[in-house]
Structures are given as C-alpha cells and as structure tokens.
C-alpha cells in the first residue's frame, strides 16, 4: 500500500520534470525529505519553547548546583557508581538541532550564490570589488589557525566539517546535563534514604516476594548459606564464590524496588546475570535522552586484589558439582570468574581515570568517534581510550599491537609487565589496568579482537586512500553483521545449546564461566569449526549479544540468546575441493583420520605422495565450490556435536537459486549458476579470434578482435548454451541456405542471443570520406570476411549489410568492422563560414559506444572478474533482481548496473570484497537503498588508472554543475567527466523507484533472516503489480525466455537440449528473435510520451503500463498537443481506449489479454 502511494507521488514529480528541466531538483526532493523538513521545523519551535522554560528552571537551581558538585566528589566512595562520563555518549540518543549554525550556513550559501552569479555575469566592477573584499580581507589569527589546522591535522576540510557536525549531533547538550544533575540528586537521596533491613537467608524467596521484584538469579549453587542484609551503601560484607554475585543482584533488586516511580520511567536489568546492571530511565523529558546505569560494586579494600590473579581458584569445585572426589587436587584456576569480581573492585579507580579524560575535549571527541565507529560495526568492546588524530592513532595502534601475544598494561611498573606474561596463559587478550590486576579485555575473545583489528586496518587504509568521501563509510554507515561476512550460521534453539554445553564443555570451563552458557557454547562451536575449516577461513566471528534488558519484575530465563556466526572466507583456499592430510605413514595421519572419520581416505597425489585426504566436491561448477565450506561445517556440526541440519540455519547461497536453469538440461554439462557456460563462450571466442587474425585473403588484415556482449564480462544472467538448431518445419523452415521462420508460428523459437564482436582492421588511407560510401565499403568487407571464413575455416557464416553472423561451436557471433572514420563522418559538420567542426551527436555517440567504448569497458570488467570471481554472478543477481522488479535495460542499462557493482568491488569500504555473490548482492541493495547519487559521483577507477588530480577534477565538476549532469553520474578512466553510460537512463523517477524497491527487499530479507525458520528468498524477486494502470498479459508460449522466469510452473516438463555437434548441413539459427522485445520496442517508440512500460526481460509474461499524469487531463487545442488525443468540445482529451486497442494491434499474436486496472478518462 505504502509503495503505491509513494510511487504515485514520484510520478507527479516526474510531470514537473518533463515540463521544465529546471525543476529537476524539485523532482528529486521526494516526499520523504519534505516531510523531514516539516518535522525539523516543528522541532525547532518546540526547542525554543523548551529553552525558555529551562532558563527559568536553571536560574532557580543555581545554588543547588554548587552543592551538587561537592556531593559528586563524595559519591564515588559509595557503592553506587554513576558511569555518566563513559556511558552517556553512546547511551543517549539525542536530537540536536543547531539552529544558530544552520542560520550561519544560510548566510554563507547566500553569499556564495551571489558570488557565483557575479562571476558569471561579470557586470559591474563595483560589485566585484565588494566581493573581493570578502575574500581578500586580512585574515584574523583565529581564521588563519583554523585554516591551517584543517590542512595539517585533518584529512580535508570536508572531513573536519563532517566530524564536527556529527559530534554536535551526538553530544549531550548542556541543558540536559543540568537537568540530569537535578535528577541525579533526587535519585541519590532516595537511595540513601532506603531503610536498612533485617537479615535474610540468601536461598530465601521471601525477600523477592515482598519487594515484588524478580531477582535475576541463576540456580547453579543449589544451597547457599550466605546472609543478606541491606545496609547503607558502603558496607556490605562479601564472601567468596558466586555468593558475591548473588548478593550484588539482590542488592540491586532491592534498590530497584525502592526507587519510587515519580522519578523514573522504567527500571530494567541489563547485561547477563553475572554482571547485572540496573538501568533506569528517568521520567519526563530527560528520559528520552539519558539512561542511567547503576553498578553495584564492592569497596576496594574488601578483598586483596592479588586473590584474583588468574591462576588462583575462587570457585570450589564441590560447590559446583556437589561431589567431594577431587578435593585434594589442585583447584583449577578460574580466570574469568576472577575478572568479574576484579571488574567491580577496580571500578572506582577507573572512574578516576575517566575524570582525566573529561579535561581534554579533543580526547573526549576522539573517544566518541571511536564508539560510534564500533557501534556501526555492531561490535561491543570495553575499550578505554584534535579527535581525528586520536582516532587515527588508535586505529594504527590497534593494527600494530597484538594483545593476543604481547598484552599491554596501563601500569608502568616492571612488576606488571611480568604479570602480563602470566595472564596470557589464561586470557585471549591482555590489557591490564592501572592496578595491573584487572584485565579489561577478559571477555574479548581472540576472534573478536582480530575482527576489531581487521576493521581498524581497513579503515586506516581507507582513510589514507585518495577517495575524499571516506567519512560517510567510516562513521555514518551501518555495517550490518549479515553483510560483513561470507557465510553465516545461526543457532536459535537455546535449550539445545544448553544441552550442547552440558555435554561438551570441560569441567574447568564450567567452573570458570559458571552459568554463562553463551560463552561456553561459542567456545565449543567456534573451536570445532576452526579446527575443521583451517585455512579456508580468515576469521570466524560471533555477533555480540545485544545486551539484554528485562523489566525488574520479570524473570529473565533466556540468557544464551541466539548465536549468529559469520565466516570470512579466504579466497586462496576456500574453494579447494580436497583437504590434503599428512602422508599415510606419518603418526599425524592417525589423528587426521580420527578427526574426519570415514570421510578421510587414502589418495595418491600428483607429486607422488600418498596421503590421507578428504574430498568435498567434484568441483564441476563454481557455484558448487562456493558451498564447500558449508559442506564441511555441516559435517562437523553433525559428527562432532550431533547437531542435525534442522537445528541451525546456514546462510550462504540461497539467492543464487535465481540464476539456475531448472527447466533446461544439456547432457554432460553442469550449468550451475552459469559461470561455466560463460567460460565456454569465451573459449570459443578466443578460437574465433585466432581464426580471424589469420585470415589471408582480405585486403586489410584484422588486427584486433574485441567482444562487447555481457557474456564476455561474465555478466550475462543466462549465458548462451552450445546446442544444435534444426529446422522442424513447424516453426523453422529451411530456405535455400538459411533457416527462416514459418509464416504462422504458434510458439516462439528458442532465443539465441547474438554475441557482439567488433573488428579492427589495419590502417589505410583509402576509406571514403562520405558516410554512405563508407558504409558500403564496410559492407563489402563484411562479405569478404564471410567468404574467407567459409573458405579457410569451413565455418557457417552469413554476411549482412551491417554485420556478419558466424555460427561457431554452437554460438552465434555477430562481427562488425569498427573504424574511427565512420564516427568522424557522423560528427562532421560545416559551419556557415566554412569551418569544419566535429561535434558529438546522438548517433555518433551511440555508434562510438557500441564499437569502441563498450569493448574497452568489457575488457576492464572481464579483468575485474578474474581478480574477484564473485563479481560476475553478483552482476547477474543484480540484473535479475532489477528485471524481476520489471525494470529492464531501457530503464537502467545493464552496463550501468555492472559499473555500480564494479564500484562496490573497487571501493569496498566499509567492507572487504565478498567471496559470495549473495552478500555482495545485499550490499548492492543497501547502496541502492542509501541512494547517495545526488550528492556523490560514482567513481569506478579500474586499476587505479585515474590519478588523484583527475578524480578531484571529476568531483569539482560534480559539485559545481550538479544540475546539468545526469541524475546518476558514473565516471570511469575511459569517460572521466562525461558519464557516457548514464546520459539517457536511469531517470530520477527510476532511481527513486529502485531505492524504494531495494529498501523493501532488504526489509524482506531481514525479516526472513531473523524471524522465519524456512528461508524463501524468492519473495525478493516477486514484483508488486498492483500499482500499474494496465497490465498486458502475453501468451506464455510466445515468450522465448519463459523458462528463465522467477516462478516457472513446477509441472512444466524439463526440456532437454542436445549438446552441440558439428553437422555438415548446419545453418545459422534463428538469432536475436524475441517477439516480446520487438513488441516493447514498438510500444516505447510509439507511446513513450504517454506511458511507461515495465517488463521482466527474463521470461516475464506481463507488461505493466503506467500512464504519465502529465499526459492525462484535458488539453488546450494546439498542434503540439494533438498526438494521441481526440477532440471533445474543442478541447483535447487522451484517447485511452483507442490506445489500449493499439496495444492489442501492435502485439497481434503475442498479446493474450489486457487488464485495465485503473481507468482514467
């Protein structure tokens, strides 16, 4: 429903656009933006009101505030810890409307505009002098500093401005700070006024009932003997073991129940049950901006810190397991448990560190930036760190150091350095705090740390790259987990995971992690995967758990949560079909065989060795090879952990289903997703190239052969297949030397796509100067080439005036002679005073693109595919998706789609190039949904052929004359500032449509991923058809590519094609004959002015028609308005009924029915 509305709105925009080109901008600002503007305006008003109110308030409270500060100092001694300084930057979601700033910008832009017009008109000197004053006035010190600072400290002006803008958005405004202070005082009073209670048994439920609070407890130690007594904060006795944690929870629960509702909006617990935090949302306005987290912690002096060194044991096994067997043994160390308590103990010290940070605004800004960066990457980490440089330094620091092998410490003493070493035995990463007891990164696994490191590396390289607009991809763009990796495994069943842990986890781990099932499950699963996948994966990462929250009165039973694992494949090894094990006679072979079981077998390899090996695939198709890791993972989970296929969801290649040919089979050929078919075409083409280059009997030899069809760049959605074409007398007849169509065909013959090839001849000065004569000479060459190919290589060839068709090894190649002179002839013009000009015009550009530019681009994209083998199938998926949404080549040219995909591969930030087409396709949808085309040019810098200066030139051009450039601007090294491929299409209307559809599709995908158990990604490829005015249904049998449709009837029989075999009487088949395309061409040619036509090129049997609102309605009687209309009372109205009749007439024999949905008369 919503789709329809917005689409209509866009159509209205379109009418403006077509009437007046200067309105293009208006057409672009779609409804969304308008709405948001309104919204902002409202906000501004509110804000002003608020500010007035607030001033009054704050005046009243001035006195209070002073005393408040004193209290704050004392407060840190208490157990209630307020993490305001650290947490609020990320916790608060605030809206900042910087009114003053915006006004400034308005002024500036006004001035700017004046300048520009002055420069252009250059009328009066007076004005110019005034302008000069503005630009040339003596600089103030401040200004000079600012300008210089920008030059030296920041990447570029733009980068700095963007950072400032974002920080402004995120920073807490002063007025809220004041409000918070007041509120905080109240809170403290309430906490302090809580009565002390009597003593309760820890195992007792009474307290919870009395308070109406569900205490977030776990039931591991069954019997607990501790006592709990609520005392005034500052003294609470603590005993070892999990007792402490339990007490802490009860303590928090008690506070929660005692905080009165008049100051809080909601009270929830956060984190896991081991480290509970009470989250309080203040009531009133403040609540939307600030959340307060209450940590309960013990006084530093309660324990000796050394008690919690990692090698110490603090959890007695008998408490946990309930038996006394191994009581004499050395107790296993419990490093993770220890660190939980250390965390609490050292909190106060950290809080003091925070105060240092507070004093340096730049440092603070840097931390904010880092936090944003982490959150956008869905990473959560307890890191403690001019803002740009800080961020940069931290990144480079992250890359250089390795906490896994050489940990770091904030304490300078020798002692602590030694301790670092000992800590490495127990923790993955080591980062000690000032006390050098607490390891801040206890809960950071090696994988997560590596992940952060990799992201940092990526960002730094991106920051250093010449691409100017790195800001967006660094800070503003979300990097969703499901787009950041190649393969994904998702476990939903928490009960199953608990069982898994109980069976597979070691006793030490159980003791150490306690009831933290999640960490144990992750450890088990990722260890197994890592062992089995070895070098096939770069990293195995787990999506950090959303810190769970639950109401303080509710029970929180689900503490594992879903486990979502991402695998980043290593392209060097991930497609190997064999896992080579050790040589059979070595002792390691036994272990290898033990791990893989029956899968392992002895094999002799080419180097003569006999080894244990596991074979995963026959390796016939690339699509099969992409799934080898899935096969391995599924095998491991089943054999090692007894997890059957239905217990988890593996996401890797589901969308690729759309590229498979389900209803066509060729004997002895595995089609897969079409890459092998494309490869075959290219091999045959290479042979043809050799043949052509060695032709002897032509006046000018051929010295260049270039292909330009999609298949030569691996981007043909359904590449042609080598097969035999025979006359059947019903559809196809033999006529002399050719195959021709019968008079009355009832079914369309198979579609054979001609493969375009352009030929370069050796140079000659004898080409005629006149266009027609040139073309005749060219045709003579075509005939000559055809004759030679027949004579010299016995090929089946047919020459036509504009081209030669060659049927070789089952494919039809269409050759054309390419010569610059033809384009010269088309450009040739003579002005009135006899000067000869060469000017681009539509025809010359079209020919030049076809014969010269496209082949160049084809070889560049071909090169890209050989470097990134997922490029081709990604393009295919993108084209398939667009087409399925009824947007075809005429709306957005195929080449444009390919260039967009290429730009994604060449500037992948914030991602790494993906090995899986599915992930790359999702990223493309994301970039469609972002629709950044109006603000950024797309630069496709093949092999970095464009220099920095050239890129800047393109960007400046884009900035200065945006309005006169096409709505989508793509620059490649070959066309630089011309954006050759987007001149005609896509229009703004189509771009907006694509954006909207991409958003919908992504939403569908996410829904599927996170809610449904059965994945059906085909829904992404089913178009909404309710929004068209009129639907033309085609006869399915007349649609030659019907078997490529998204939904082919299951009952449709599978068609068997014969593999190509040379036959002496073979003819060039019926080639390039697609009635649907011919029909569409005629429709668009004839009715473009009144309506838009939408169709799925790949087997669509529906054509959607949308009348343009500008064409509807009554028009004045004018010669220019007469077309397509009829006269009614001296005015003109659109003759829609006759037009729809025309659709029948034009598509006679093809159209089955026309359904008029919305009749507008």
């Amino acid at each position: 429903m919503s789709m329809k509305i917005s689409y209509r709105a866009n159509i209205n925009d379109f009418s403006n656009h077509s009437d007046n080109s200067s309105l293009e901008n208006d057409g672009y600002s779609n409804d969304e933006i308008d709405q948001s503007k309104d919204y902002e305006d409202e906000n501004e008003e509110n804000e002003e009101n608020e500010e007035n109110e607030e001033n009054e308030e704050s005046e009243e409270n001035v006195e209070n505030e002073e005393s408040e500060e004193n209290v704050e100092n004392e407060e840190s001694e208490e157990n209630v810890e307020n993490e305001e300084n650290v947490e609020n930057e990320s916790e608060e979601e605030e809206k900042v409307e910087n009114i003053v700033k915006r006004e400034n910008f308005h002024l500036i832009s006004d001035k700017k505009r004046r300048k520009v017009t002055d420069d252009l008109t250059d009328t009066s000197l007076k004005k110019k002098r005034k302008l000069d004053k503005d630009l040339y006035k003596p600089p103030t010190v401040d200004e000079l500093n600012q300008l210089r600072e920008t030059e030296n400290l920041f990447h570029s002006n733009l980068f700095r401005l963007q950072i400032e803008e974002m920080l402004n958005e995120v920073r807490l405004k002063d007025k809220y700070k004041k409000l918070f202070d007041i509120w905080f005082k109240k809170l403290k009073e309430t906490i302090e006024s809580i009565r002390e209670t009597e003593e309760y048994q820890l195992s007792d439920d009474k307290l919870g009932k009395k308070l109406n609070v569900h205490i977030p407890m776990f039931d591991v130690p069954k019997e607990t003997k501790g006592v709990f007594k609520f005392l005034k904060p500052t003294d609470i006795a603590i005993i070892g073991s999990y007792m402490y944690i339990k007490k802490k929870m009860i303590y928090l629960a008690y506070i929660a129940s005692n905080i009165t509702d008049d100051i809080t909006e909601s009270k929830t617990f956060m984190n896991d049950t081991l480290k509970p935090v009470l989250k309080i949302v203040p009531s009133g306005k403040l609540g939307t901006k600030i959340n307060v987290l209450i940590h309960a912690s013990a006084e530093e002096a309660s324990f000796k810190l050394s008690r919690f060194l990692p090698e110490k044991n603090n959890v007695r096994p008998e408490w946990f397991f309930g038996d006394i067997k191994n009581i004499t043994e050395n107790f296993p160390p419990t490093p993770h448990y220890n660190s939980i308590i250390l965390h609490d103990l050292t909190m106060k010290i950290h809080a003091e560190n925070m105060k240092v940070i507070k004093e340096y605004p730049n440092l603070r800004d840097g931390i904010i930036l880092l936090k944003i960066w982490l959150i956008q990457r869905e990473l959560k980490l307890n890191t403690f760190m001019s803002s740009y440089q800080i961020v940069r330094n931290v990144w480079s620091y992250l890359i250089q150091t390795n906490w896994c092998e050489s940990g770091i410490t904030m304490n300078q003493s020798e002692d602590s350095k030694n301790r670092v070493l000992s800590y490495h035995k127990y923790y993955d990463c080591v980062f000690l705090d000032n006390t050098s007891y607490y390891n801040i990164t206890t809960h950071v696994s090696k994988a997560t740390y590596k992940w952060v490191q990799k992201e940092a590396e990526l960002c730094l390289s991106h920051l250093d790259s010449t691409h100017a607009n790195s800001f967006q991809s660094l800070f503003m763009r979300k990097v969703p987990f499901y787009m950041a990796f190649d393969h994904f495994i998702r476990f939903e069943d928490t009960e199953m995971l608990k069982i898994l842990v109980n069976i597979n986890s070691s006793d030490e781990d159980k003791l150490d992690y306690g009831p933290n099932y999640r960490a144990q499950a992750i450890k088990i699963i990722s260890n197994i995967l890592k062992k089995g996948l070895t070098n096939r994966v770069h990293q195995i990462c787990v999506l950090p758990n959303e810190s769970s929250e639950w109401k303080y009165t509710e029970n929180n039973c689900n503490d594992i949560g879903e486990i979502f694992i991402g695998l980043e494949l290593n392209p060097e090894y991930c497609f190997n079909i064999v896992d080579k094990g050790p040589e059979a006679n070595l002792p390691e072979a036994i272990e290898f065989r033990k791990f893989w079981g029956k899968k392992s077998e002895l094999r002799r390899f080419q180097d003569g060795t006999i080894r244990e090996a596991v074979v995963w695939s026959k390796g016939k198709t690339l699509s099969g090879k992409r799934l080898i890791c899935k096969k391995i993972a599924t095998f491991l989970l089943k054999k090692k952990l007894n997890l059957l296929k239905n217990k988890f969801i593996y996401i890797a290649d589901e969308v690729e289903e759309l590229l498979k040919l389900r209803k066509v089979k060729i004997t002895h050929f595995a089609y897969g997703t079409g890459e092998e078919a494309a490869l075959r075409v290219i091999n045959v083409f290479n042979c043809l190239e050799k043949d052509l280059m060695s032709l002897t009997d032509i006046p000018l030899s051929i010295h260049g052969v270039q292909g330009s069809s999609a298949v030569f760049r691996y981007t043909d959605v359904f590449p042609p297949l080598a097969t035999v074409y025979r006359p059947d007398d019903k559809l196809i007849k033999k006529h002399k030397k050719n195959l021709i169509l019968s008079k009355r065909i009832t079914t369309s013959p198979r579609y054979v796509c001609p493969l375009d090839v352009s030929l370069q001849l050796s140079t000659s000065g004898k080409w005629p100067d006149e266009l027609e004569a040139f073309r005749h000479t060219k045709a003579a060459f075509h005939i000559q080439i055809a004759e030679c190919l027949r004579k010299q290589y016995k090929l089946t060839v047919k020459a036509h005036f504009p081209y030669v068709d060659v049927y070789k090894d089952g494919f039809v190649f269409r050759l054309r002679v390419a010569h610059q002179k033809e384009i010269g002839c088309l450009k040739h013009q003579v002005t009135e005073d006899g000067v000869i000009q060469y000017k681009d015009n539509e025809k010359s550009i079209e020919l030049e693109n076809k014969l010269f530019e496209l082949p160049k681009l084809t070889s560049a994209l071909h090169g890209l595919h050989t470097q990134q083998p997922s490029f081709g199938p990604t393009c295919c998926l993108a084209k398939r998706w667009l087409s399925a949404q009824l947007l075809d080549n005429s709306h957005i040219p195929d080449v444009v789609v390919e260039l967009l995909v290429a730009s994604m591969y060449l500037t992948p930030a914030p991602y790494r190039p993906s090995q899986m087409p599915q992930v790359a396709f999702l990223r493309l949808l994301e970039s469609f949904a972002r629709s950044h085309w109006n603000t950024d040019p797309v630069i496709v810098n093949f092999n970095s052929e464009m220099s920095k200066e050239e890129i800047i030139a393109v960007e400046t051009l884009f900035g200065s004359s945006r309005d006169s450039l096409p709505p989508l601007f793509i620059s490649t090294p070959y066309d630089q500032q011309r954006s050759l491929w987007t001149k005609k299409a896509p229009s703004i209307l189509i771009l907006n449509r694509i954006t909207m559809l991409a958003k919908q599709s992504l939403k569908l995908y996410e829904d599927q991923l996170f809610t449904k158990v059965l994945l059906d990604f085909k829904t992404l490829f089913r178009p909404p058809i309710t929004e068209y005015d009129c639907l033309i249904y085609l006869k399915p049998l007349m649609v030659p590519r019907r078997l490529q449709a998204v939904d082919v009837n299951d009952e449709e029989p599978i068609v068997e094609w014969h593999p190509y075999k040379r036959h002496s009487a073979q003819k060039v088949p019926i080639v390039g004959f697609d009635p649907v395309q011919l029909f569409l061409q005629e429709l668009r040619n004839g009715y473009d002015e009144f309506a838009l036509f939408f169709h799925d090129t790949y087997g669509g049997t529906i054509i959607g028609v949308l009348f343009k609102p500008s064409a509807l309605g009554i028009k004045e009687f004018k010669v220019s308005n007469i077309g397509g209309r009829k006269c009614n009372n001296n005015e003109l109205v659109l003759n829609i009924s006759a037009m729809i009749q025309d659709f029948y007439i034009l598509g006679k024999g093809l159209v089955e029915a026309i359904d008029v949905r919305c009749f507008i008369v």
Partner: protein
C-alpha cells in the same frame, strides 16, 4: 460548421479504424499545407498537412489510404519518427487535395477491410526477420560494387571539375594568383575548428612567456592573497557541500 472549423484552427478531422472488429478509433486532423515560404518539396495546392497518425502506420500504408480516398499520392513525408506522427502528403493533382478537404468530419477509414494494407504484431516481425535473411550475399555484393563505382566516378568528376575551374581561371584574364607555396595542395591546413584553436593557443602561450610574474612586490603580495582566497574558497565550497549532505542525510549515526 464554419464555427467549428475556426475553433479547431482550420483543421478537419476523420476517424481511423484498424479493422471491422475494433471499436475504438483514432481521430486524424488535417488541413491544407499553407506556409508563406514555400519549397519545392511541399508544393502549394497539392500538399495536405496531417496530424495524429498512429505509430503503426507506415509510408506505404498512408499512401494507400489516401490514394483510395482522394486520388493518387506522389509522396509522403513524415516529420517525426517517434510516437504519433505528423506527415505531409503530396498529391499528383490539385483536385485530389480538394477532394480531401471535402471529407466529412465523421468519416471513418478502415485500414484492413477487403484488402489487408497494415501488418502488425507477429506477422510483421516474422516477415521482417525473413526478409532481412533472404537478401543474398552475391546480390548484395553486386549492389555495393555498383554503388561504389558511381561514387568513385562522382569523386573523380568533382576533382576534374575543380582542376578545370582553376585552369579556366588562369586562362581567362591571363593573370595568375601567386600564394605561399607551402599552403598549396594537399599539405595545406584544412579549415578545421581544432586546428584553428591550436594556433590560437600557441599564440597565447607565446604571449604568456613574455611576462614576468614575480618581479614586483605587489605581484608577490597578490599571489599570497590569492593563495589565502583559494583556501577560503575551498573551505566555503566544502561547507556548501556539507550543507547539501545535511539536507540529504542528518548526521545522526544511529
């Protein structure tokens, strides 16, 4: 009647029906071609100006329609190639035009009644496909040869003519014009836009070389000023760009 004609700016109308079965018709508008500067292509008194011709109607079909309706048509010119077309129809006789102008406003022309004159859809596409194939290579070759022979002849004649002109000139008065040798014959610079531009650019560069840039103190001062202005300008430009970005996306990272 007259009144109506005026309101339609002098246009008359007729209805066009595809065949007997179709119910909806297109309305064609026409009037006598009358523009002040006449040209020989559209002679006065014999040319009809026709508007709103449906896209599927070709030259041939139009010729047949009006030949049947009024009298022999000599040529048809389409002005537009896309959408609903506009055409000039030139009759052989003036009487045919008069007849055309007398057509009743509600007259209906049926395209495919007794004889099929307009092919569309599958039939047309198949026919076109086959026709393109049936052209034999040998015939095509011959055609090309003939064309090229004519072309060569034409060029040869042209060259001969130019030569003759020159000689004639020389003989006429007994005077011979003397010009620089270099620029004669095939080595002469052609009057191309690109070459003219090139010469101009060279000239400009020459002039530039003659100037000294950092000779006077005011020049150095100026260049410093210029540098600062450049920096400011860039800053402003970036600010503007940021403003654009802001209008598109807010700077809220989450």
């Amino acid at each position: 009647m007259k009144n109506k004609n005026e309101s339609l700016k002098g246009f008359k109308t007729l209805w066009l029906q595809f065949d007997k079965e179709t119910t909806d018709k297109h309305q064609l508008f026409f009037k006598e071609h009358s523009i002040r500067n006449q040209d020989s292509k559209h002679p006065k008194g014999r040319t009809l100006f026709l508007l709103n011709i449906p896209p599927y109607i070709s030259h041939k079909t139009l010729k047949v329609i009006f030949s049947n309706l009024c009298g022999t048509v000599s040529t048809v010119y389409f002005i537009t190639s896309k959408g609903f077309k506009t055409a000039y129809i030139v009759f052989e006789k003036e009487s045919a035009l008069e007849k055309a102008l007398e057509i009743c406003d509600e007259h209906i022309v049926t395209l495919n009644s007794k004889r099929k004159i307009c092919f569309t859809g599958l039939e047309k596409w198949c026919f076109k496909y086959n026709r393109a194939l049936l052209c034999d290579e040998k015939i095509l070759k011959k055609k090309i040869e003939v064309y090229m022979q004519n072309y060569d002849q034409k060029i040869a004649e042209k060259i001969a003519k130019e030569k003759a002109m020159k000689e004639e000139e020389a003989e006429n008065d007994g005077w011979v014009t003397i010009t620089g040798r270099k620029k004669r014959g095939q080595f002469a610079l052609s009057r191309k836009e690109s070459t003219i531009n090139k010469v101009q650019r060279k000239e400009e560069q020459k002039n530039k070389k003659k100037q000294l840039l950092n000779f006077y103190t005011f020049q150095i001062r100026e260049s410093k000023k210029q540098n600062l202005a450049e920096l400011r300008k860039k800053f402003e430009l970036d600010k503007k760009r940021l403003q654009d970005l802001k209008s598109k996306r807010t700077f809220k990272p989450f």
